[in-house]
Assembly symmetry: C2
Homo-oligomer: 339 residues x 2
């Protein structure tokens, strides 16, 4: 059986309190300090976090609920979240919602029963109902990437709207007026990006025919098929905005397999870096999200909110939009006169 604090007591003759104090970094006589240290090694003592949590009513664990753990974007975010949480002395308990709102709701309940100190959520659902239990139990929640309109929620996300505005402006500045959009409007971020595009197209009086708008799944397949369809059009676009990582992957593959070459025949700009930069040739123009910053800021905010709540103060519930950087590539060409 594993050694307990009582075994150390026996071995050192000291009291539970002293040992506990030592364990929690309190002041203990150097002499006793040594004794305890020795006993811990001898007995191979390890704190039972379970018991500690029960009495402190802090689990030092954060529940992380993610829409799809197999998604590349989510994976990278998770990596940064785990890193930051760990560095702050917290454990991460990840739950996968598998894009299922029902499961997502269950996950929240599940983590709450596990007495997590806070919740970090990249949501599937677009309303906050599923978070009611957390509100009731006064467990702070920070959303990431996808915001939900609810004054009780904090969110760290990216300025999707501004970034896609800029992307379209760049295409337009290069002289493009036949611009197509492959995107996803099934999720809020996709819609924000799409709206950003549309706004600039309107401003600049660039009309966008129906067949240039390809909205669908957030998938490689959607990117692939859409690009194929665009290239097969009697009058194909001269430039394409690709709304996310999966779409870029599929769309670029479609271009590579076609008789078109970029940027000669078609100009490309995409949203999300992930695995693609340094790789595609010619290099793509990309809107790059600050993944690490987003994750770290969210973790920090959550931890600080946990503290605020414990101190009886109000947590911070702001929505923070991080800027997206557009990294130049060689995938955009000036429009030639004959197009």
């Amino acid at each position: 059986m594993a050694a307990t604090i009582r075994d150390i007591k026996e071995r050192t003759g000291l009291s539970l309190a002293t040992i506990s104090k030592y364990l929690n970094g309190g002041n203990v006589l150097p002499e006793n300090r040594e004794k305890i240290k020795e006993a811990i090694v001898e007995l191979n003592y390890q704190v039972n976090e379970m018991a500690r949590s029960l009495v402190t009513s802090q689990s030092k664990t954060i529940g992380v609920v993610v829409f799809d753990i197999a998604n590349v974007f989510a994976g990278i975010l998770l990596r940064h979240i785990g890193e930051k949480l760990r560095a702050s002395g917290y454990a991460a308990m990840f739950c996968d919602s598998m894009n299922d709102p029902g499961l997502e709701k269950e996950n929240i309940r599940f983590l709450l029963n596990k007495k997590v100190d806070g919740l970090l959520v990249i949501p599937v659902e677009e309303t906050s109902d599923f978070l009611e239990p957390a509100f009731n139990e006064n467990v702070p929640v920070v959303l990431m990437d996808r915001s939900i309109k609810d004054p009780r929620l904090a969110c760290i996300k990216v300025d999707n709207h501004a970034a896609s505005e800029e992307a379209i402006r760049i295409l337009s500045d290069y002289g493009h007026r036949k611009i197509a959009i492959i995107g996803s409007t099934l999720i809020p971020t996709g819609r924000e990006r799409f709206e950003g595009c549309i706004k600039v197209l309107r401003e600049r009086r660039i009309e966008i025919p129906e067949e240039y708008v390809k909205l669908g799944q957030h998938s490689i397949e959607h990117g692939y098929r859409s690009m194929q369809e665009l290239l097969a059009l009697p009058e194909p676009p001269t430039a394409v905005f690709m709304g996310n990582f999966e779409i870029i992957l599929g769309a670029v593959m479609a271009v590579n397999e076609s008789s078109f070459e970029y940027p000669r025949d078609i100009s490309l700009i995409g949203f999300d870096d992930l695995l693609i930069s340094n790789l595609s040739n010619p290099r793509l123009w990309l809107a790059v999200q600050p993944m690490q910053e987003m994750a770290w800021k969210a973790a920090d905010l959550l931890i600080s909110n946990i503290r605020l709540i414990r101190e009886g103060q109000d947590p911070v519930r702001s929505e923070i939009k991080l800027p997206v950087k557009i990294i130049p590539g060689s995938s955009i060409a000036h429009v030639s006169e004959n197009k």
Copy 2:
């Protein structure tokens, strides 16, 4: 403050024991049953798993330690693990080792202190030293995908050797004798795959010049560069074996960007499906790993070992190699005489 079992006691006049029994599915008079049920709803009572764990000394939580949470392969495995564990009443606590053996060791210690009931590990390290603490504390460990030679360990993996043997046999049966390999030997699975290839090449007396062997990182970049180099050779191979998902992604991109066309100029077969099937055109021949089966078997084995240990029996420590299916595509051509 959250309601406790005591509040229910007050409200129903029943004893703690009865309520606890109800909570754990014991026999309670229908009448009391109703009373308790009602009180639970009224008070919005939720079990404090922390306290429950302390007394039962089971956390109903499995620690999952993964070499890289941002890796696509790992992500998919994690999804299936989480699914299975959840269905069996266990929570998953994921820890990312970020390909760092030091962190991996810390993760084990960390999870053990959290009193996880068992450990599921896709390891970075190739020796079992870092698992000593788990052995000492009698916490069962099941490895996935990458095995470690240690009789104390169980492992669910895939028969990499046999699968790559078959892949090369197929290429050879199509008449190829200029076969290149892009792979990774930095990790055990990569080596197994490579050895499988070499074995068949030897058997069939196909010689493989040094410049046809591209071993390196497990990365898109490695696949991309290697394929470029192969195609630039004065005498390029007629067929290429691509050792994993990232390598396929990079290598296929390189082919698409080149003047080569597959399967006309070069035949391709790859290891790992993940996002690629249904997508690449022509369709690739692929060795497909049974991801779900691997995850489910590992979770099942771990849970069953947890039970065995609790019952004082010996856990099962077998190494199980799951078969890999080779799915035909159109990416392999018969060798033409002039090559």
